[in-house]
């Protein structure tokens, strides 16, 4: 509960429409894109300028009140889940594109600017912003930086961390940090990398300078069907070994293909176990050469069918199925739970086999959508939240999938972040000294643990408690920790 004295001081900092305190106004902010986690915030503030952000932070710091930053609320890991007794700081109203410099190929934008709006604004200069998370119509750039968002073009064009130059950010005590520069590097430690993906735990971002890239001359996509998912996986490695770095390289399994086809009628072949979409882009001549190579490799890998989109309309249709895969799978069951592990690609057949075994054990169906180029797997677990215990079962199954990803040399999150959702699995991926260093990094920025406390990095006692319930092969994780 926030004290009336604090709330009245908070009101003094903002115009009345920028502070929400009535229950019906607060409910829309109870969750982010992972709606299984809900908590109605005590108060929501929507500052309209940087000075207000700084003042809010200073006030919260003075009163030792926690702050949860939130952008568009499309996050998928409960990173922006409200915390009791905290202020929910929504940056959506800071939504101005400040400047586009076409010659230097940069855009200066406020955190609430939508990802796609940057590319739309840059289109007149034939430039665009490369990272394209599937929520790009709605998600905002501040949240993209906080989560180090990816998308389908990561293998070639990188994640958010590779596509930003500079940040203006505020520490919890209201100090301005200018991190990065208009040049390609900065003196000292790479705080730009540290801030990217820090899930609102280190500082609050109020301005981002992003890199813009020239729009490729041409993009073309090849679709290939396989009767065996392992063959499709091998084809992916062979494309890369042939020297082609595709702009997008996506794989779907049987259930995902069928759901997508039923939903958008993309014309996908239905009698296959796996579908690959391989897009190449770049200079006109290079695209022609690469398409030729890709087709050859796919044929040699045993594709049962290969189609090349020969028009922009057909290219978009090929993609429509993949892009609609999540909502399409959503039609198969009342609820689905989207996981986000990354694995070394060679492990794909093994991992999919284990997932399918676990699917039988848990009695929950799974559709797999895979950013195959960079090894980022999105198993979608189907369940019904109205059936008692099923959400819990789905979460448990999801956790097991993430642990499997770590076991084969991968990671628990490729692009969605840890948030609150995967906080237990952090105990699997990192040792106690490593988790302690993460807490140290936070303490360097936020010694009082006021920014988004309890997210992303588990407290050590949490690992001990969780570890006690998850003993693997007789090995107690974090055996050095006290248990209570």
């Amino acid at each position: 509960m926030l004290s009336p004295a604090f709330l009245s001081q908070l009101r003094n900092l903002l115009p009345s429409h920028s502070l929400l305190h009535e229950r019906e106004d607060l409910v829309p902010f109870e969750s982010d894109g992972l709606s299984a986690y809900r908590n109605i915030p005590d108060v929501v503030v929507l500052p309209e300028n940087e000075a207000q952000v700084a003042a809010i932070l200073q006030l919260c710091h003075a009163h030792r009140i926690a702050v949860v930053a939130r952008g568009a609320g499309t996050g998928l890991a409960a990173g922006a889940l409200p915390i009791d007794g905290a202020v929910l700081l929504v940056l959506a109203k800071l939504n101005q594109i400040r400047q586009i410099d076409p010659l230097a190929r940069t855009a200066v934008v406020q955190p609430g600017v939508r990802n796609l709006a940057i590319s739309e604004a840059a289109a007149e200069y034939n430039l665009y912003y490369a990272p394209d998370p599937s929520s790009q119509i709605a998600c905002s750039i501040g949240g993209n930086v906080a989560e180090n968002s990816g998308g389908v073009h990561c293998l070639k064009y990188g994640l958010t961390v590779h596509n930003i130059l500079k940040l203006r950010a505020w520490t919890i005590d209201g100090q301005l940090l200018e991190i990065g520069s208009d040049a390609l590097d900065s003196p000292g430690y790479d705080l730009l990398a540290l801030m990217t993906g820090s899930e609102g735990m280190l500082a609050v971002i109020t301005e981002v300078t992003v890199k813009l890239l020239p729009r490729p001359d041409r993009a073309q996509v090849v679709l290939a069907a396989f009767d065996d998912i392992a063959k499709a996986g091998a084809a992916v490695g062979n494309i890369i070994a042939a020297g082609v770095i595709p702009a997008g390289l996506e794989m779907m399994d049987r259930l995902a293909i069928q759901a997508a086809e039923a939903f958008v009628h993309a014309g996908y072949p239905l009698d296959c176990e796996a579908l690959l979409l391989c897009e190449v882009d770049g200079v006109n001549e290079e695209v022609s050469d690469d398409i030729f190579t890709v087709r050859e490799v796919l044929a040699a890998a045993g594709a049962t069918e290969i189609r090349t989109a020969d028009s922009e309309e057909q290219r978009l249709r090929f993609w429509a199925g993949r892009k609609a895969a999540f909502p399409a799978v959503g039609r198969l069951a009342p609820d689905y739970y989207c996981m986000d592990g990354t694995i070394p690609r060679a492990q794909l057949p093994h991992v999919l086999k284990r997932i399918s075994e676990m699917s039988a054990e848990y009695g929950l169906a799974v559709a797999n959508v895979f950013h195959a180029g960079d090894g980022n797997l999105h198993p979608l677990i189907l369940f019904d939240a109205n059936t008692p215990g099923e959400l819990h079962k789905a979460e448990d199954f999801g956790g097991k999938i993430l642990e499997l990803c770590v076991e084969v040399g991968g990671t628990i999150t490729g692009e969605h972040g840890v948030g609150l959702e995967k906080i237990n699995q952090m105990c699997t991926q990192f040792s106690t000294p490593e988790l302690m260093r993460f807490h140290d990094v936070k303490a360097a920025f936020d010694p009082d643990t006021l920014l988004n406390p309890g997210k992303a990095i588990p407290e050590l006692h949490r690992c001990a408690e969780w570890g006690a319930m998850h003993i693997k092969g007789g090995q107690l994780p974090h055996p050095e920790l006290p248990r209570f």
């Binding site: 410099d101 010659l103 230097a104 034939n126 430039l127 989560e147 990561c154 990188g158 994640l159 590779h162 520490t171 100090q175 940090l177 200018e178 520069s181 208009d182 040049a183 390609l184 590097d185 003196p187 000292g188 430690y189 705080l191 990398a193 540290l194 993906g197 280190l202 020239p214 729009r215 001359d217 062979n238 890369i240 020297g243 770049g282 001549e285 022609s288 050469d289 990354t342 070394p344 690609r345 060679a346 960079d374 090894g375 980022n376 040399g409 990671t411 999150t413 490729g414 840890v418 995967k422 952090m426 000294p433 490593e434 260093r437 993460f438 990094v441 360097a444 920025f445 992303a456 990095i457």
Partner: protein, 354 residues
């Protein structure tokens, strides 16, 4: 070997004894003078894992870059950030700790962009692992990238996993006689178009650009851009990468001149700070051989959106690297304090006060 290094650092931490971390010693000129006993990493070498189809290579810190590049070359792959060797036995660990990248950097990315994970030993002797061997990974803070360019002040890097890329099938280097302002504009204009650019340089009235990609794409760009084709192009870019051309080499040290690296917004107009200048990175780096005071150069670089580094020569009193704002300096001190509480690792190498 790893155990020996851990023991040495633990002992140094216990005894409060500063250590100088050293790989191949090819970059001892870079940064501020440090103090202490040398802790050599050369014996910690070897490629641990290389999966060409995964585009991932993992090697121990002391592995020579040349060995890694030869291995990648067998599979037609490369380190796309084109790290400088500086004519010495540069190691992977040293290259990552210094965070330096070569001519391809503005078009392909910097050393930090290709680091997927590190194993390290912090200043208390604690071995740690961050990141991993996969391209997408957002679990925890990005400590592996924090290590890039930290000059060994936060920990000794013992192993690095990198993303590697295929070598281009064809390359061509073109030259144009052009004045400085026009060359800067051209480099930026071309970078905004879908051209297969992979390096650029301007020096003494000559703009040089490298094209890399599929033969057809390189050929098409070549006929579109015109210019003279440079023979022996790979030697040209290698000399620039390793600073073995006379411009970087023959500094009359008696004249109190130093080599400065001004990292600026790529579109920054000509600096007019003297004729001894070499421009790289699409206009984003301006190398100057100059006897101007550090403060003058730093002020210029800052006005152009960047910073100035004393690269070779006598460091000014405030150090080789541009001083940080008070807020950023506090964060640096806090991080250093957490990773190396007694300040024993490369003391003073990055900033004189830690």
């Amino acid at each position: 070997m790893l155990d020996t290094l851990i023991e040495r650092i633990r002992a140094a931490h216990a005894d409060n004894l500063p250590l100088i971390l050293q790989g191949g010693g090819s970059k001892t000129f870079y940064g501020n003078a440090d103090e202490g006993e040398v802790l050599a990493t050369r014996a910690l070498n070897g490629v641990v894992d290389y999966q060409p189809k995964e585009l991932v290579l993992t090697a121990r810190a002391g592995t020579p870059l040349a060995e890694i590049e030869a291995l990648l070359g067998e599979q037609n792959q490369m380190l796309a950030f084109e790290p400088p060797h500086f004519g010495g036995p540069a190691t992977l660990g040293g290259s990552i700790a210094a965070g330096l990248s070569g001519p391809r950097r503005p078009y392909a990315g910097a050393a930090r962009d290709f680091v997927l994970g590190v194993r390290m030993i912090d200043g208390t002797g604690q071995p740690l692992r961050f990141g991993g061997q996969v391209i997408k990974n957002v679990a925890g803070y990005d400590v592996s990238r924090l290590m890039v360019g930290a000059m060994g002040t936060l920990g000794l890097i013992t192993e690095v996993s990198l993303k590697v890329l295929p070598q281009p099938a064809a390359q061509a280097t073109l030259q144009f006689e052009l004045g400085e302002a026009a060359a800067i504009e051209k480099m930026n204009q071309w970078a905004g178009q879908p051209l297969p650019l992979s390096a650029s340089s301007w020096h003494a009235g000559l703009l040089t650009v490298r094209l890399s990609g599929a033969p057809s794409a390189v050929h098409a760009a070549q006929s579109r851009l015109g210019g003279e084709t440079l023979k022996e192009a790979s030697a040209f870019w290698q000399r620039l990468r390793d600073q073995s051309t006379p411009f970087f080499d023959k500094r009359p040290s008696t004249l109190n001149q130093s080599l400065w690296r001004l990292s600026v917004k790529p579109t920054a107009p000509p600096l007019n700070l003297g004729d001894a200048q070499w421009i790289e990175w699409g206009g984003a780096v301006r190398w100057l051989v100059s006897d101007l005071p550090a403060a003058t150069l730093r002020e210029h670089a800052q006005r152009c959106g960047g910073h100035a580094t004393l690269f070779r020569g006598k460091a000014p009193l405030d150090g080789a690297f541009a001083p940080l704002t008070p807020a950023l300096l506090t964060l640096h001190r806090n991080l250093k304090q957490r990773f190396d509480p007694r300040g024993i690792l490369n003391r003073g190498r990055l900033y004189p006060d830690f």
